[in-house]
């Protein structure tokens, strides 16, 4: 039995399941709705299996309402991932900073007049 965080990361290691999660970030949805974009290349049992993996990992929960059992995101598992990511913040922020600095350089080079030539003559 893998630990909770391993189970969460494992559930996220699939584009179909990440797409389902993105769908649910726009609101609750039934399994049938969640599976719609994949019906052409995936069977209903395969779709249901993906939903079950997300559910077992605690990433989604199912509400119990009369005839319906819509799925929705469970924030707890996402919070665990965010908590884990926190210890590496220096790495991804540093990386964002580098991109930011690079974009600033590119923008500066594109928008500003070149001053090098004029400096040469003024001194």
């Amino acid at each position: 039995m893998p630990d909770t965080l391993s189970q969460t990361f494992s559930a996220l290691a699939d584009p179909t399941r990440r797409a389902m999660l993105a769908h649910l970030s726009r609101g609750e949805a039934s399994i049938s709705d969640l599976g719609k974009p994949f019906r052409k290349r995936m069977s209903l049992p395969a779709i249901t299996k993906h939903v079950k993996v997300l559910e077992r990992a605690g990433l989604i929960t199912k509400a119990r309402r009369a005839q319906q059992r819509p799925c929705k995101i469970n924030p707890e598992a996402l919070k665990d991932v965010a908590n884990w990511m926190e210890q590496y913040r220096q790495y991804w922020e540093e990386s964002f900073d580098r991109l930011d600095a690079y974009l600033k350089t590119v923008t500066a080079n594109t928008n500003e007049p070149k001053t090098g030539d004029t400096d040469e003559h003024s001194n």
Copy 2:
């Protein structure tokens, strides 16, 4: 061949590999150093395999230096995870907020005198 993000999440879905990454967050390390905490219950080939999974997922890189090839964290893959997490910020922040509110209630109940009884008599 899984997509890059799936490969990253898959690499993170293991406590040994997450421990190795935590080790590297304190600085570069050789495979032998990375494997030390696991040598009692894991063979060197098994340790090397974990390092390879991290490397293939782009989470670590190996420097080439004369006789040594120390491993270090590659920020790019962590940035991809942070980027992906960003779209769910509302969920994990909401979750943090709830915890924060709960902790404030608990602290308030512990530190402040109960005013309920006095209110009852003052009106």
